[in-house]
């Protein structure tokens, strides 16, 4: 009896595969899978979009992420006695007095730099100045930097660290507030550090002119990088490879907290060990509360425990919602700095040369901290940086700082943008399949049901359109950044943009490419446009998550809903909406546009060309797919 019973394995196989021809089964299975996928695809796409956007909303959630920690063994933060004392504070105050005279004395930046140079020379340091001029088509700037080098007493000077202060503070983004205590502190610190012989790296003190421009010129010269539109003197003195840099920004009379600014040019972040070391040192060595940016945590300081008008009181009293709001504020700030690519201060310029740098910002307040606290912090941080044996590499380079001592790893935030990008990719592929097939009446009399037949897709014309839009984006960029348009005649922007939009409209709307048995251009264009936009979002995500997330928010849904159906008027309206989405920023925020261009010309922030050559054309393609047949 028993041997006639099929084995368990065979029965299982039968159950899974069924009986009959294996190939038929396989084909059926495959077809069923395809059908299910095709039927469910809209739902899948919806789920992907929903999860992606929801994930973005969850990023500030207090349960996501973890506490920070020091990863590099060599750093040994906050393990030294500090010797910066009240006598040094007194010296800093004296320098402050001199600098105040200079600030009020109508000195030119050349004279100012010379004075700083003299002060450094009096200390016995190797010191010099460097003049520069930026010939930007937007606004040219010039100035003179002063810098000094304290060579390592017992090392060959192949490595260096930088203490810098820009003449203008970050308080109003370089509008005029002088970083006066920052500069006087740097000189006093140079005088103080000279006493010690345990530096394993040269220490370079830089007082850069202007806000960002001076340091850009100095760093370019230090690393021997030629920059178009920059005339600068070469540096007379040089040192080794710079590994880390601290930028001091202390404009007010006293400060309540030390704020940390860390975002660099083009969205690069410094190694997190640097931030974490400084945070621990400030807290344990100097006893100064540290905060992100200039945000004072309302939970720590009741004075700033302001309630947002739009948040109901009972919600705000909930600790989780309170924490969410506080974190969201920090994260949005990071999003802003990263996505614009400008970074959050002078330290950001170091990042383009692979130097990990942050700005320490003394939040202006009536007290209680001053030179004493910042001196102890910087002295101890320098000892920690001095301990480094190789570049900072152990900790994270990809993170979101949610609040002081709390961060999100890349795996906690990256999927949000990637999910949206995947949804767009699926949508694009679906349109691609739609373009390749058409349902027609059955040809056979006996079988009147409708059947699917293949049709060709006009790929080459669509590619030509896409290349053309990107080319016109390039033209847009070149013309926007030309001196004539950007400086003199701002009102010209309107007719120019109308011309741009109208030109593209005229170019494409009247064209009929449609041929029998060929998919409509609009459908194919939409498919490829979505695929390309999705690619751009997912690729940018690693380089600059904030920019990628912004693109995912701006492009995700709008590109997915473009269509060429409806009356001519409604299509025109849709086209104009897309046009507005693509270049509307030019009308609404001319100042922003101007700054983006300045960032590109002076600092090398690639957001402006990216917007013109990638973003605008992508949205325009969606617009074109509405007016084209």
């Amino acid at each position: 009896m028993e041997h006639k019973q099929p084995s368990l394995l065979t029965r299982l196989k039968h159950k899974i595969r069924g009986s009959g021809d294996v190939n038929t089964k396989r084909v059926q299975r495959r077809l069923a899978l395809k059908r299910t996928l095709t039927d469910k695809l809209p739902k899948i796409i919806f789920c992907l979009f929903a999860t992606g956007y929801l994930w973005m909303l969850l990023i500030p959630f207090p349960h996501l992420g973890r506490t920070t920690y020091i990863d590099e063994n060599a750093l040994q933060p906050s393990q030294v006695n500090t010797y910066w004392d009240w006598a040094d504070v007194h010296i800093a105050d004296q320098y402050l007095g001199l600098l105040e005279q200079i600030r009020d004395g109508n000195y030119t930046s050349k004279e100012r730099a010379e004075w700083l140079n003299m002060e450094f020379l009096k200390l016995g340091l190797t010191s010099s100045t460097q003049s520069y001029t930026f010939l930007s088509p937007v606004t040219g700037v010039n100035g003179t930097n002063a810098y000094a080098i304290l060579p390592s007493a017992r090392h060959s000077g192949t490595e260096a660290m930088v203490i810098s202060a820009s003449w203008l503070s970050r308080v109003d983004e370089g509008a005029g507030t002088v970083n006066i205590r920052g500069v006087s502190f740097v000189i006093a610190l140079a005088r103080f550090l000279k006493r010690y012989s345990y530096w394993a790296k040269d220490i370079i003190f830089v007082v850069s002119d202007g806000y960002l421009d001076g340091m850009q010129a100095w760093l370019g010269a230090y690393h021997g990088i030629q920059q178009k539109g920059l005339e600068r003197e070469p540096l007379q003195h040089s040192s080794g490879v710079i590994w880390t840099a601290l930028n001091i920004d202390y404009p007010g009379h006293s400060f309540s907290n030390l704020g940390i600014f860390f975002e660099g040019i083009n969205g690069r972040l410094p190694n997190q060990d640097l931030i974490n070391s400084l945070e621990r040192i400030a807290r344990y060595t100097a006893g100064v509360p540290v905060t992100l940016y200039d945000h004072i945590d309302p939970r720590e300081n009741s004075l700033v425990n302001v309630e947002y008008a739009w948040v109901p009181r009972f919600l705000y009293s909930n600790p989780i919602i309170k924490a969410y709001i506080i974190r969201a504020r920090n994260i949005l700030r990071q999003l802003k700095y990263q996505a614009t690519g400008r970074g959050s201060g002078v330290h950001g310029l170091f990042h383009q040369h692979r130097i990990d740098a942050i700005t320490i910002f003394g939040l202006p307040a009536q007290g209680p901290h001053g030179f004493h606290a910042i001196g102890k912090t910087v002295e101890s941080t320098l000892r920690t940086m001095n301990n480094l044996l190789e570049r900072l590499h152990a900790s994270f380079f990809f993170y979101i700082m949610a609040e002081r001592g709390w961060f999100l790893k890349i795996g906690h935030y990256l999927p949000s943008a990637i999910l949206i990008s995947v949804a767009m990719m699926f949508q694009g592929l679906r349109k691609w399949v739609d373009a390749g097939w058409i349902e027609v009446d059955g040809t056979e009399k006996s079988d009147p049901s409708r059947v699917w037949v293949r049709r060709t897709r006009p790929v080459l014309p669509v590619l030509a359109i896409m290349i053309l839009t990107h080319m016109s984006g390039l033209v847009l960029f070149v013309s926007l950044s030309s001196t004539w348009l950007s400086t003199n005649t701002y009102w010209l922007a309107y007719p120019f943009l109308v011309l741009f939009a109208a030109g593209i409209y005229v170019l494409f709307s009247k064209q009929t490419f449609a041929r029998p048995n060929e998919a409509p251009l609009s459908l194919t264009l939409k498919a490829l446009n979505l695929c390309f936009a999705s690619t751009v979002i997912s690729i940018i995500a690693v380089l600059n998550f904030s920019l990628s997330a912004s693109l995912a928010i701006i492009l995700g849904i709008p590109l997915s809903v473009s269509s060429s159906k409806g009356s001519t008027l409604s299509r025109l309206v849709r086209y104009l909406t897309y046009t507005y989405l693509s270049i509307g920023w030019r009308l609404h925020a001319p100042a922003l546009a101007k700054q983006l261009l300045w960032n590109w010309h002076v600092l090398g922030v690639w957001l402006a060309p990216f917007v013109c050559i990638v973003y605008v054309p992508i949205v325009m393609q969606a617009g074109i797919s509405c007016i084209i047949d």
Binding site: Q76, Q79, S152, R154, S197, Y198, A200
Partner: protein
């Protein structure tokens, strides 16, 4: 040659038999005889120490300090520099970051400079490798290695082996580059045993999971101790806030603290040392392995290993032994002299000088040829390429 070694063996056997008898403790009289003067004695005649700090970099200052602390102690107790092999993977004293150049301190009060002014580092920096440690232990040395870098022990030597650095389960890291495993160490000790390079060994390790390092030992007469068990970390003891790093590890600190009260005449046993250290707050559980060791710990004096306190045996002047020992010594010296002479300078020079004459004409002729004919050859090559192509195309 055979006879002296046979006699030697006999002597050892007699000694061993005596000890074995005593521990069997049947014969009260014999026991009394052996314990008449003092506690049971080690039969060694000389003391050696191998002190290894296997990690480099400034933040591992404490490992350098550990090894130097041990160095100071064994030297204070009488082991001369010639009998100490000190391996330091880095030079903390001369590090640019050292606020006190030329000094290494193991305590924040900085009373005692461990680097002092009389220190002899035998292997330093990148010389501290697994290979060199094993060569030192087993004595397999290149003939050119000077005597000061050799462990010239014999079968009557007591050796103190101290390792510190970053370790893990059954391994110890050397310079972030390589590891020595517990098996390597065990095999090295077995080889020493077979080559009669020791009488007894005290093995001490202050690393994370140190006790795993001696888990594989299988050779006799090894007493092993370590700072921490499997899965445990060994912690540092204290920071110096001017130097800016931890200056010593807890286990070593308490061992050294205890050792400060020991002098050459001290009778304290290793049991005293181990039980004292075990009561301290280490954050880990130090371990002792005694199964390979023949003597009871309570009756093994610390100075058997840490000091140069050895039994002096006055042998009756039976001509045979005397001359044989001398012969051995002489022959050894002679051989090592020969070893030293082997790669002596003149020899090397001649070999180097002999090379160029055979080489130079060949090179010069070649380069001359290239200089003169290089372009021509290139043209000939291109010509023949062209010919080939023309020929193939026309065919």
């Amino acid at each position: 040659m055979l006879l002296p070694s046979f006699l030697h063996l006999l002597l050892c056997l007699v000694g061993l038999l005596g000890v074995a008898h005593a521990s069997n403790a049947n014969d009260k009289r014999v026991e009394d005889f052996f314990e008449r003067n003092e506690s049971p004695t080690s039969s060694h005649t000389n003391n050696w120490a191998v002190l290894v700090c296997s990690s480099r970099y400034w933040f591992n200052y404490r490992h350098m300090a550990n090894a130097l602390g041990m160095y100071r102690t064994v030297k204070r107790l009488g082991i001369p520099d010639s009998n100490i092999i000190l391996m330091l993977a880095d030079d903390a004293s001369c590090n640019q970051r050292n606020k006190f150049p030329g000094s290494v301190y193991a305590h924040p009060d900085r009373q005692l400079d461990l680097y002092g002014d009389n220190i002899e580092v035998d292997y330093r920096g990148y010389e501290v490798t697994v290979e060199n440690l094993i060569r030192v232990l087993t004595g397999r040395m290149d003939p050119s290695v000077p005597r000061s870098k050799r462990l010239l022990t014999d079968e009557r030597s007591n050796i103190f082996v101290y390792l510190t650095g970053h370790g893990g389960n059954e391994f110890l890291k050397f310079q972030d580059k390589e590891e020595i495993s517990a098996f390597d160490l065990a095999d090295a000790f077995e080889q020493m045993h077979q080559k009669k390079r020791y009488n007894e060994i005290l093995f001490m390790a202050d690393t994370c999971q140190a006790n795993t390092l001696f888990s594989q030992f299988y050779s006799p007469n090894i007493l092993a101790t370590g700072s921490s068990g499997l899965g445990e970390n060994s912690y540092s003891h204290t920071n110096d806030n001017d130097i800016g790093v931890a200056v010593i590890d807890a286990y070593t600190h308490f061992v050294l603290e205890y050792m400060e009260n020991i002098n050459k005449t001290s009778d304290n046993s290793l049991q005293d040392l181990f039980s004292t250290v075990a009561t301290k707050k280490l954050g880990s559980n130090p371990g002792v392995r005694t199964d390979l060791f023949g003597r009871p710990l309570a009756k093994t004096r610390i100075t058997d290993f840490f000091g140069n306190v050895a039994q002096v045996e006055v042998l009756p002047p039976t001509g045979h032994l005397q001359t044989s020992a001398n012969d051995e010594e002489d022959s050894y010296l002679a051989s090592s002299d020969m070893d030293n002479k082997q790669p002596s300078l003149p020899h090397n020079l001649t070999s180097e000088q002999s090379l160029p004459p055979s080489d130079a004409p060949w090179w010069s002729s070649l380069s001359l040829l290239i200089q003169d004919w290089g372009k021509t050859r290139a043209w000939v090559a291109v010509g023949s390429l062209g010919l080939c192509l023309a020929w193939t195309l026309s065919s």
